[in-house]
Structures are given as C-alpha cells and as structure tokens.
C-alpha cells in the first residue's frame, strides 16, 4: 500500500509541476467555467431576481462542464507525446498511476470551483457559507466522484477515435447521481430555512457513490488500459 501512495504522490507532483509551468488547462478551464456562470445567470435571472434555487444548479453544471473540459485536455496532452504509455511501462501497480492522475484533476477542479463559487456568490449574493463544512464537503465529494469516473473514461478513451465527443456521452449518464445529490444538497443548504439533515443525506449518498466507483475504477484501470 505504501508503494501505491508513493507512486500516486510522484505522479501527482509531476502533474502539478507540469501544470504550474504552462497553466494552460487551469486558465482555459477557469475562464470557461466563468463564462458558463455568466450564460446561466442571463438564463435564470428574471427582473433582477434569480429563479429560486438556481444558484446551486449553476455551480454544479458549470463545475461539470469545466471538469469535462479539463479531463479531455489533461489526457490529450499525455497522449500527445505518448507519455501515458511511458507511465504504463513503469514496474508499478497501474492503479496507483490512475490515483495520481485523478488527484491532479481533482486539485485542478478545486481551483476552478473557488472561482466559480466566488462569482455565483457575487452575482446572486447566495449564502453559500452559511454552513461551510457541509458545503465544502459536498463540493469535494462531488468533485472526487465526477473526476474519478471521468479520469477513467478519459484515460480509456485516449486511444479511441472521436474521443472528445464520446467523453460526455459516457460520463453524464454514469455521474447523474452525483449531480442530483450535489445540486439538491447545496439547495438544502442555501434555501431560506436550511435543511441540514437532507444535506447530510445527499453528502452520504455522494460518498457512497465515490466508494463504489473509485474502487471499481482503480480495479478496472489495468484491464482497460491494456490494448
């Protein structure tokens, strides 16, 4: 197990260093997410007031689209100079490589989320931080779940044709529970009289989703990546 953590940390550190050098995916994804927020606010604001509860939907949908973009771009780069096969050649547990890549994407999406939540809070003056722990917990669990399934599909699609269009086609039907739980959990937090029990239930559901699909992804990464 220590070996898996060591390798995962190594891959994560490499991804952070590579990303910090070019910051290409970070800037493009953050800008894309902000433009999503703008577009949605035009759609959901009527006579100055946002439609009741639209804010949580906007946050999560902007997050999902930005995540999908980041996933596609991150693996595109690995494919470009065949680096992914270089990693698969290493004499290590291949699931550890998956874990390292996943953590890199979760970190990236976390940065994007900070910006998205800031803008939504600004535009709609929503009390996101009335219950900060639950809210951050929902976001974190949702991101890990979404990025977990997304990273596996993106890695797997790396060698398939028309992968850019296939990623969302595969990703959204599977991650529907995360989006439902995320949106409704956040809604329960920011509505007039926040319903904490409901929010906790949704958080528990996302954590269950994470547990199931991360183990499944960790387990199937090896057979899916061998041609």
């Amino acid at each position: 197990m220590r070996e898996v953590l060591r390798v995962a940390w190594l891959v994560l550190r490499k991804d952070i260093r590579v990303e910090s050098r070019s910051r290409e995916v970070l800037y493009t994804t953050t800008f894309f997410a902000t433009s999503c927020v703008l577009v949605f606010s035009f759609a959901f604001v009527r006579s100055g007031r946002p439609v009741e509860g639209a804010e949580s939907g906007i946050v999560w949908v902007a997050l999902a689209y930005a995540g999908q973009l980041a996933l596609g771009r991150a693996f595109e780069r690995e494919l470009h100079h065949d680096a992914l096969r270089g990693l698969l050649l290493a004499p290590v547990e291949r699931g550890a490589i998956f874990a390292g890549k996943l953590l890199g994407i979760v970190l990236l999406m976390a940065l994007v989320e900070v910006v998205v939540v800031f803008f939504v809070a600004l535009f709609f003056s929503t009390p996101f931080f009335a219950h900060p722990f639950l809210f951050v917990g929902l976001l974190a669990a949702g991101t890990i779940g979404f990025a977990g399934v997304g990273a596996l599909f993106a890695a797997m699609l790396a060698r398939a044709q028309s992968r850019a269009v296939l990623l969302p086609v595969l990703l959204y039907p599977i991650t529907v529970p995360v989006l439902i739980a995320g949106v409704n959990g956040t809604l329960a937090l920011i509505q007039a009289d926040p319903n904490l029990d409901l929010a906790r239930f949704w958080l528990a559901l996302i954590l269950f989703f994470d547990a199931v699909f991360l183990t499944l992804a960790f387990w199937t990464f090896e057979p899916l990546m061998t041609e």
Binding site: V92, T226, E227
Partner: protein
C-alpha cells in the same frame, strides 16, 4: 549494466517470439511472427512504414496483447511476470515519452523515482553525462532539438538498467556526430549483455552493427538471404522475392473458375472451416 539494477529479482537471457499475430478488427497488424534473441545481440527490424514494426515492439513491451501466439521472456510469458518483467524492459518509443514542460533533469529524476530509485541524483547525473546534456540539465525539454531529445529519451529508457532494450526509429533527426555516439552506446549495451531490438529505416547506419536482421512486410516476416552484398541490397532482394511469391500464390487462388490444385472448383469445395457452434 543490467546486473546493477536495484531489485533485479527477475532476469532472463533469452527472448522467444512464437507465431505472434495481432489484428485490429479486420486489419491485420502482425501475422505469425517468430524470432529468438539472446543476451548480447542487436537485432534489426527492417521494413516500410506500417509493416508492423511498432506493433511488434509494443507487443514485446507488454503494452499490446497478441491476438495469437506467445512471447516468452526466458521461459515465462508476460502475463505471469507483470511488474517484475517491466523492470527489465527499456522502450524508446517514436514519440520519446518526455514531458516538454519539465527540464531534462526533472524528466530523468521523475522516471528514476518511478522505477523505484529513492536517491536518483547520482544516476541522473550519470545519464546526463552519457547524453552530453549535463550543461542543459536545468533547461526545459521544449527548448531542445530533436537530436537532444532523442539522446535524453534513450538515457531515460536505460536508467533502470533493462535487459531487453526496444528502440523505435532511434536515428530519426540525429546529426552525424549523434549517430556515431548512439552506435557506440548500442555497442556498449551489447557488451553488457542486453538484448537490443532496433526498428529502423536507416539501413546504411546499422549495416555493420546488427548481429541479425528481420524484415517485416505487411505484418509478415520475410526471409533475408545472407548472400554477400550490403544490407540494403540483401533487403531489396528479400522484398523482391516476397512480392513475387505472394502474387504467385494470390494469382492461382483468384483466377475465376480456375481450379485450385488441379481440381474443378465446386461451390464451397473442401472448405473445412468449422461452424461456430462446434468451434
């Protein structure tokens, strides 16, 4: 070189490839390729683009599973060995597998640690020296010429002292001096007892270097005559023979109504393929 690897638990002296075929859907990438390579040998894989050289190297590097046939490392298949085998494999792919955003030193350090070396400084320095890139250690690979990247990528694939070294078109983009260094480096590997497989177009460069050569055409091995003359001449002769042999065989089979082996052709005559339910 190979014996000094950190935890060289598994090692092998011989690589055996028996009847390996690989198909992608209906295209056939490799068809019944067989070869044997022993320690201290440099074997050339010659052939036009798309002949299956890269696929064969991919199969030997355990990245691609053969559809049929077996590959034995020593006397054990890759499936049994897993990570221990990968520790003894070095693969220089056509796309070099380097991170342009990282510096030369960082690239080597990452892969050294990935292969299990917790204090890679000394090993990285030696590799940089070998690649004549010691002064460029801190520069990003994105600023490097093709030749410099090629040298760096070769050292990266040899960092962990592999037994089997697979090189895919290593000479592309190298200037005269780098080619000379590269050939010396390969001779050093041979002396150290490595098994080297080299896929290339540059017949003249490898003419004196190869112990043996295998010609691949459309996924099939073609016998290379060992009559005198340069490698290029023998290669051209082998390809010419193959072209005639295939058209002969293809010719008899296709003539409409022509008999196969002298018998009149009945519909489905002596078709022995079995139905799927019995297969």
């Amino acid at each position: 070189m190979p014996s000094t690897s950190p935890s060289g638990s598994f090692d092998f002296e011989r690589l055996t490839v028996r009847g390996v075929s690989r198909h992608y859907g209906r295209q056939r990438a490799l068809s019944r390729v067989s070869l044997v390579a022993g320690a201290g040998e440099i074997i050339g894989l010659l052939g036009p683009n798309g002949a299956g050289k890269s696929t064969l190297l991919g199969v030997l590097a355990t990245l691609i599973a053969p559809s049929r046939g077996r590959v034995l490392y020593g006397d054990r298949p890759a499936r049994e060995l897993g990570a221990a085998l990968r520790r003894r494999l070095g693969y220089l792919s056509h796309d070099l597998q380097l991170y342009p955003e990282l510096t030369a030193g960082e690239n080597l350090e990452f892969f050294a640690r990935l292969y299990g070396d917790t204090r890679p400084a000394e090993r990285v320095a030696a590799a940089l020296l070998q690649a004549h890139l010691t002064d460029r250690a801190g520069d990003r690979v994105s600023g490097f010429s093709r030749g410099m990247r090629q040298r760096l990528a070769l050292e990266r694939s040899l960092l962990h002292g592999p037994r089997l070294v697979l090189l895919d078109e290593p000479f592309t983009g190298l200037d005269e001096r780098s080619v000379g260094d590269f050939v010396d480096r390969l001779r050093g590997l041979r002396a150290a007892g490595c098994i080297v497989l080299l896929a290339t177009h540059d017949l003249d460069i490898v003419d004196g270097l190869l112990d043996r050569a295998v010609v691949l055409r459309a996924g099939r091995t073609v016998p290379l005559g060992d009559a005198g003359g340069s490698l290029r001449e023998r290669y051209r002769a082998a390809v010419a023979d193959d072209v005639t042999a295939r058209s002969l065989r293809r010719g008899t089979a296709r003539t409409p109504g022509g008999s196969v082996g002298g018998r009149s052709e009945l519909p489905g005559d002596d078709w022995r393929a079995r139905t799927p339910s019995d297969a």
